[in-house]
């Protein structure tokens, strides 16, 4: 299908199905139940899953294939975001031009940074990218305030020109839309206590994710992708095999940067504000963590890693002591307080602690990240399967 082998095609179909049914799958608990706190099926978080998934998939094209660890990838996401907001300010609040320009600007920006940084390899490359990103962040937050909005961020204003629509100075700023369909619009479906929200913006981002994922598969499986993996494996040998690794690296870096820009464009399409801290090293570090957590060099890993980190950030940080008391109200009072006291440091303001423990736990017990977890589970099942049928080995 679409030039993919069977395994890849089924992976793509699986991702497409997950994207399509996420609003249902991510809301496993009825709206009214106490566990509904763990539901993730609301537009903002679903959009974030998808957007950071794109970001991480793109990052993995660079890091997973070539082994070049960029510590400044957030700069491209930030540059894309700024470009997107400016497009919405100047031209139109239709999201398509914004997303396109984000990708292009991030691509240009990554040509510049990549051209210089790729002169070095290993940790020297990492530090060069980090330095560029930190410079971008520092300048965006301060000296470039007229262009970037500084620390408060760049957002839409009523008196923006919006050439295609004509600016208005009264009423409200028009919402970002896809040819009239507003990103914030949702269809809510209430079935027997479950509340499912099908959001326009989410599905737009979802479609983009599927396209991005398909492109990533094609890159992974192409001769180009093979050369990139060869760079990771033995760059020295590759030179003596007649290949100039520099343009390959640069192309890969730019593709990866454009993925980041695409993610940035989608981010401002969903929520039209671009802040400088999107470019900070912590943001670059986050995508590194997402990729490692999910499984470096695997196709689906980075998407899973992105999902897990964003889930923690958005769900665990919102659990407060009040909620805990409510959940454990069935316990006797003393025990209830005890249980809440035990759990409380790990949720709400302590969600970072849980995140840190999870990083350590995953990498200690699952060296291949979340994908390895999946593989192990599958192995357990297939073993069972084999036992049941008592198939001979081979």
């Amino acid at each position: 299908m679409l030039g993919l082998n069977k395994k890849d095609a089924s992976l793509l179909l699986m991702v497409a199905a997950l994207v399509a049914f996420a609003p249902i799958l991510l809301n496993p608990f009825p709206e009214a139940s106490a566990l509904a706190q763990f539901n993730a099926g609301y537009p903002d978080l679903m959009q974030r899953f998808v957007i950071f998934g794109i970001f991480a998939v793109g990052f993995n094209i660079l890091f997973g294939l070539t082994g070049y660890l960029s510590f400044g990838h957030a700069a491209f996401l930030g540059a894309g975001s700024y470009a997107g907001v400016w497009m919405m300010k100047l031209l139109t609040v239709n999201v398509i031009p914004a997303i396109l320009i984000s990708t292009v600007v991030a691509g240009l920006f990554s040509i510049l940074i990549g051209f210089i940084s790729l002169r070095r390899s290993g940790i020297y490359f990492s530090i060069l990218t980090l330095a560029f990103a930190q410079m971008s962040f520092a300048l965006a937050a301060s000296v470039l305030t007229p262009i970037t909005g500084g620390e408060t961020g760049l957002n839409l204003a009523l008196d923006d020109p919006r050439i295609l629509e004509g600016g208005n100075t009264t009423g409200n700023i028009p919402a970002p839309n896809f040819f009239g369909l507003e990103m914030g619009d949702s269809l809510q479906l209430n079935v027997a206590g479950w509340l499912w929200t099908f959001n326009v913006g989410y599905y737009l981002a979802g479609v983009v994710l599927i396209i991005a994922f398909y492109t990533a598969i094609r890159i992974f499986r192409s001769p180009f992708g093979l050369m990139l993996r060869a760079i990771k494996s033995n760059q020295h040998r590759l030179g003596f095999t007649g290949l100039n690794t520099r343009p390959y690296m640069l192309a890969c870096f730019v593709i990866s940067g454009m993925y980041a820009g695409l993610a940035g464009g989608l981010m401002v399409a969903m929520d039209p504000l671009a802040g400088a801290e999107r470019m900070q090293w912590t943001a670059s570090g986050e995508v590194v963590l997402m990729t490692i957590l999910g499984g470096i060099g695997t196709l689906i890993g980075p998407v899973l890693g992105a999902g897990l980190i964003k889930y923690f950030e958005n769900i665990f940080s919102k659990i407060n002591s009040n909620l805990l008391h409510e959940w454990f109200a069935f316990l006797p009072d003393g025990l209830e307080d005890f249980v809440v006291t035990i759990i409380y440091p790990f949720v709400g303001k302590g969600w970072h602690l849980t995140l840190g423990l999870m990083f350590m736990g995953v990498i200690i017990f699952l060296p291949g990240g979340l994908v390895e977890l999946g593989q192990r589970i599958r192995r357990v099942f297939s073993k069972k399967d084999a036992n049941q049928h008592t198939k001979p080995a081979e």
Binding site: E31, A32, D185, L189, N190, E277
Partner: protein
């Protein structure tokens, strides 16, 4: 324990289980179902408290959260009622808001605009919050305010001091009770002139971001109007932790006052450096060298320890206000009492401002008779009130900024406890702080109910 505050879900539980029998899928889009976003349909209403819980401002966020929980208690008729008893508007009856019990959800802004918006959106989209409040920086306040305007809910800003929040980035759905950079300058300058004379030469160190710019400008303008001269103004990176290279040249620059336009950790570190370099013990131009910190908070004073002794600045409110200046500030002591009884220490200015914001929002809903943001906006615009601990106060309609007295404080030489680090020098009456809303530009737009 606080089992009484069931969230919306807890209450929905019975209703939904009963409704499940019907099991006919109901389809509605966000716009068709109600007159405004997240119209509370059950017996409760959900407020979203969005404060920094991680990062360097986590302790400030924690103090805000304490005040929010206290406010919710008082609104629901529990506890001693706090400032409900002294508030000039008597619309609130201690039975929730419009008869609906007040519930809340909490989130973590991380003091990052992106994270703050994510958290606010989850409150609006997932938890059905009808009002978002909180925050501990102007970047976050501006970002979340813009989001609330787009989403169609009310935003009651927490601690945000930049002129932009109700200046160039003001929004119809957003309101600020806290004071701003302009007011700091206006309040501080006369007292500085009085204490240090009118022929001072000032050296500014300014945090290189929006709040820093507006604060530097405000302090410069108002001190220069008093006759001060500005020798230099140097911008320092926001991420800077060691300010020694910025402080070192000050003494030989010909200045005799150092103004630190820094907040939070920036201020703690720059002030510590300035004291280390012996600025306060030095003389310049034949005068005692002085340091000024335009905006003080208790956490900053705690962080800088005894280095704050004798250093002037402004603050939005202080727990000793009513004791010092009497009845004009009625409500202060009521709030300090009920906060202190519950948590064992006095509230900070952040706690005070968010408590007031919660009460003001609730009161506006009562007076408007609806949670509809447009009704609330109308009720809050040009609302004149008293009894919330800051004296007579006006919520100006043209920019949604509160006008109330501002406090000039200085660090105590011999503090009695870690909460008693500042003493009030004087209070600048609100009349002296008024400015023309047009000077900062920006458009309020019109209220957005989201539907």
């Amino acid at each position: 324990m606080a089992k009484s505050n069931f969230t919306r879900r807890g209450v929905l539980k019975t209703g939904a289980v009963a409704g499940a029998g019907v099991a006919l899928p109901t389809i509605f889009t966000a716009s068709s179902a109600s007159a405004y976003v997240n119209e509370p349909t059950g017996s409760s209403v959900t407020l979203g408290f969005n404060v920094p819980q991680t990062g360097p401002y986590a302790d400030e966020g924690a103090d805000e959260l304490r005040a929010y929980m206290l406010a919710v208690e008082h609104l629901n008729g529990e506890g001693d009622g706090g400032m409900l008893n002294t508030f000039s508007s008597k619309a609130l009856k201690g039975n929730g808001i419009l008869g609906k019990k007040v519930e809340y959800v909490t989130g973590d802004t991380q003091t990052k605009p992106d994270a703050a918006r994510a958290s606010a959106r989850s409150m609006i989209e997932k938890d059905g919050a009808v009002m978002i409040t909180g925050g501990s920086s102007s970047g976050v306040a501006v970002a979340v305010q813009a989001l609330c305007q787009e989403a169609g809910v009310i935003f009651m800003a927490g601690l945000t001091h930049s002129n932009d929040t109700t200046g160039k980035d003001k929004k119809a759905n957003g309101f600020r009770h806290f004071f701003n950079s302009y007011m700091t300058g206006a309040a501080l300058a006369p007292i500085l002139a009085n204490e240090y004379g009118t022929d001072r030469k000032a050296y500014h160190l300014t945090a290189d971001y929006n709040w820093g710019y507006t604060t530097e400008e405000a302090v410069r303008t108002s001190t220069e109007a008093m006759g001060w001269e500005t020798v230099a103004a140097v911008k320092t990176p926001l991420a800077q932790t060691d300010f020694s290279s910025y402080v070192a040249p000050v003494l030989s620059s010909g200045a005799d006052v150092l103004v630190l336009n820094h907040y939070g950790g920036n201020m703690v570190n720059s002030l510590t450096s300035a004291v280390q370099f012996g600025l306060r013990a030095s003389e310049a131009n034949g005068k005692q060298f002085q340091i000024v910190v335009p905006l003080y908070s208790r956490l900053m004073a705690q962080g800088a320890g005894k280095n704050v002794a004798g250093i002037y600045g402004t603050t939005g409110w202080h727990w000793s206000l009513e004791n010092r200046f009497g009845e004009r500030y009625t409500g202060s002591n009521a709030f300090v009492q009920s906060f202190g009884q519950k948590y064992g220490f006095p509230p900070s200015q952040a706690a005070h401002t968010v408590y007031c914001q919660t009460l003001l929002y609730a009161d506006a809903c009562e007076r408007a008779g609806t949670f509809n943001p447009c009704g609330v906006v109308e009720a809050l615009e040009d609302f004149e009130f008293d009894g919330l601990g800051s004296g007579p106060t006006l919520y100006r309609g043209s920019d949604h900024q509160c006008f109330k007295d501002a406090l000039v404080v200085k660090g105590k030489e011999n503090p009695d406890s870690e909460f008693d680090l500042l003493e009030i020098v004087d209070v600048t009456p609100r009349e002296a702080l008024v400015y023309d809303p047009a000077i900062f530009g920006g458009e309020l737009g019109s209220c957005n109910p989201g539907a």
